[in-house]
């Protein structure tokens, strides 16, 4: 399956990417995070929520083909 992944905030620095295309087997959000953390070890120490097609989802959500995935960290600055 082919997905688009978008990174926000400090996750751009952790992955050195704003956006990328990713091929995966069918998987849950938790499994996707595992794959991404393996690829980008700096993601391990980051806190973020995952949105699939503009909807924030839980870790057991199963990702369908051609999903637009966004990794959203909290910001604190003001």
């Amino acid at each position: 399956m082919q997905h688009t992944i978008k990174y926000f905030g400090m996750l751009v620095e952790a992955t050195s990417k704003n956006e990328e295309q990713l091929q995966t087997e069918i998987c849950s959000v938790a499994q996707l995070i595992q794959q991404l953390e393996h690829r980008y070890p700096k993601l391990n120490e980051k806190n973020f929520k995952v949105a699939i097609d503009q909807q924030l989802v839980d870790n057991d959500f199963i990702i369908k083909d051609r999903a637009e995935i966004a990794l959203l960290p909290p910001f604190a600055g003001g």
């Binding site: 806190n47 909807q55 909290p74 604190a76 600055g77």
Partner: protein, 367 residues
Amino acid sequence: MNTFNSRYHRQIILEEIGITGQNKINNAKVLVIGAGGLGCPILQYLTAAGVGTLGIIDFDTVDISNLHRQILYGTSTLGKNKAVAAKERLEDLNPDITIIAYPEQLTTKNAISIFENYDIIVDGSDNFSTRYLVNDASIITGKPLVYGAIFKFEGQVSVFNYQNGPSYRCLFPEPPKAGSVPNCSEIGVLGVLPGIIGSMQANETLKIILGLGNVLSNQLFMYDCLAGTSSSFTTTRVEKEIENVKASAAYFETIDYDFFCGVSHVSEITAEMAFQKENVQFIDVREAHEQPKIDILNPIYIPLGTLQEQLTSIETNSAIIVFCQSGIRSKKAVEILQSNGFKNVSHVIGGANALAISMTNLKTNEI
């Protein structure tokens, strides 16, 4: 036409607002947490629009490095408490409303009693401990919370706790690890970004007051000022998170939000105490250009950003006292030093600002 109608004329002639809407604005009571980068535009627009009662809470003082984005202040207000300085500026902008300054830190002791006096809470704070505290106090007191936060060139806006919508904890149940999300004083921020995000928060606040449009509840709005793009994400209420907060109401005053957010307890000393210490190595962690210099303490100069690389140049056996401009960066510096095995480390509350005042007092007493 009377002053009321003239001042608000351009918004009253909008048929969606009219005199009825203007009266709603004039009867509204809004509390703004933090009068910094976000707080300044929020306060400016809400004052201009005629929000009847505006509360401002901020313990911090105006520093010259704030002026590129904190547009309520000027060189004449340097060193002044921000809540007080903001109130003075805003009373000139609109003397017909009531502005209440709270020149103090928001804590679990004062949050509930202050929140209870307002209809809407707007969060312009700059750290996770305060953001979780504000979220929880809003849930406990049943007030909608207009959230905004920034990171470098990106911003987030949402409205929490509005008509049974989600709260901040429904989005982010756990705070990030301490130090994993830097703030503006550490990594910088473009001045207009909090201007944009704060203005959006003022807009959401007015929409709530007026009952107009789609309030950004159930939505997290993200804006990237470099890419010029924005995106919205749908969020959902997590009942368990809300119930947990409601259940904590009974012991809210005793909750340590710094501990919850992993902020370590750092040993502090006052400026007066700093001058009495002997056999101490002082470290000034400010950038080279920052004034006033406190030469009398004979500090070594290591800007916070380079501290990690310069640890070997610090004497490990002596007691260390760190200071910066206001006491925020020095706290970070103590955490860095402690995590690298330095034992006897503390920092000066109020930083060089407090040291300079204390130094003047000492001199006056000597004379």
